[in-house]
């Protein structure tokens, strides 16, 4: 199968310390890849260089045949890569519904010309998006929260919303930074159920997560990173039992 995302020998340094060391990785279409590893392994940096929030020192990132390096992050998002952030980012003083609506792409109403000259078209699309947003919230089982301010939700629900925003953006590749960290088991269950259903709908996931049980349950493949390098790669059980992996924690 053709890879959705192809990362070719990427390097990234922060004043002296190496965050990504000649790092290469292929992400197959419709897969769920987990990335684990100790602190400072370069996991979040990897997400940041893929999504254009940090410039690469060298290397190439190809997504669906497009070279992403040097592209501004909003264009990368438009190309179909959505992400969540470790310290959850959402517009907390807007409603859940508005956050989802914000995340849709190609909105006519985002151009003032349309708002004033073609209000009908904007209204129609807005109505459609509203329906889609409500469907999405229903699919995730949080439709009753649509009108609530995001800041009033629990942390787990907020994580759910940030996943919903990624889905609303229409992206095919979703990078989730700690989707289940810091939330209660029943919420973890819900989020994992949602993630598991999506590859068959054409979505591809890369997940950074410390909750190994969660990674084991949902990922097809696990990458173990340490000091900017790929230490192990394979199916979850084999990575877990790879001697090099436990060695990384011991050294």
């Amino acid at each position: 199968m053709k890879p959705a995302l192809n990362i070719k020998s990427v390097n990234k340094k922060f004043d002296g310390t190496v965050a990504l060391d000649d790092f290469s990785l292929e992400i197959p279409q419709n897969s769920i890849t987990g990335i684990i590893g100790p602190n400072g392994a370069g996991k979040t940096t990897l997400f940041n260089v893929i999504t254009g929030f940090l410039p690469l020192d060298s290397g190439k990132i190809i997504y669906n045949g497009k070279n992403l390096s040097r592209m501004p992050s909003y264009k990368i998002a438009r190309a179909g890569i959505a992400r969540t952030f470790q310290q959850l980012r959402l517009i907390t003083r807007m409603t859940v519904l508005d956050n989802i609506l914000l995340s849709f792409q190609n909105q006519a109403g985002e151009y003032l010309k349309n708002t004033f000259l073609f209000p009908g078209r904007v209204k129609k699309q807005e109505r459609k998006n509203r329906e889609k947003a409500n469907e999405l919230l229903a699919f995730m089982g949080i439709e009753e929260k649509a009108g609530d301010l995001v800041e009033d939700l629990s942390y787990g629900q907020q994580k759910m919303i940030s996943l919903a925003c990624c889905l609303a953006s229409g992206a095919d590749l979703l990078l989730l930074d700690e989707p289940v960290a810091g939330i209660n088991p029943s919420m973890i269950e819900k989020i994992l159920m949602v993630i598991k259903k999506l590859p068959e709908a054409g979505k591809t996931f890369v997940i950074i997560e410390h909750n190994i049980e969660a990674v084991m349950r949902v990922c097809d493949r696990v990458i173990f990173m340490d000091e900017g390098k790929k230490i192990a790669e394979g199916d979850p059980e084999s990575v877990r039992h790879d001697p090099a992996v436990i060695e990384a924690y011991l050294e």
Partner: protein
Amino acid sequence: MLAQVLLNGLIAGSTYALIGISFGLIYMPTRFFHFAHGVVYAAGAYGTLAAISWLNLPLSIAVLVGVGTSTVIGLTIECTVYRALRRRSASSLVFLLTSLGLYIVLQNSISLFFGDYIQSIRIGAVEEGIDILGARITPAQILIVSMSLALTVAVTILLKRTKMGRAIRAVANDAELADISGINRDKVFFRTFAIGSALAGVAGILVAFDSDFCPTMGINALMMGVVAVIIGGVGSIHGIALGALLIGMAQQFGVWKIGSQWQNAIAFVILLIFLLFRPQGFLGKKVKKVTV
């Protein structure tokens, strides 16, 4: 003519350095734009004026009254308003807006007490100037230049050699690590405001010795100080002095070539250039980028 332009540039630069250093000292650990500092500066001149004309005190004591007034006002602002904002962990924008409000209240209070008209506590007549290489400088201006030099050195020593100075630099360098080391941030701020406000008072008085003044004297001087701090680089006293000199010189060359009315515009065009292309100033550390 060139000699006079250079000398005027030096004098202007020195007055900016005086307020710039006092503002920069406070900005170092607090990291917000304390606009009300402009009034603290004016309070030095008006305190001295009040002591002379209302209380008939001799000049030397009047100067102390002036510096005292500045210090008290600066500290009162810190202990009442700013401390309350810090407890609320207000953003730097909130500090800036509050400070603008304070500035307006205090400047207009001065107007209410002293009137909006021009006042004077000049020392020595203008004719008493001294010739240096065909350029004229008055005794008050000599005082300004030498004091700004002395204060540059003194504040540098304060920051490098004294315990309090080190604490100020520690908070400026890494406030959380200063907390971890057991430094009391409120105490550091209190002392910084005390010294910074007293220095502003001194600056205000020195400038008033040289020229007439009115209640709005503070905002313009402060803005020149802010420009000096930004283009010099936050945290570097030498940088501030250098920045002040640069604006002073640029303005005086402007006066010479295109006319005196464009002084402000010149200073702020320089500021814009620095903000856009080198926001850390020429001696400052690189500004930390927003983290994702």
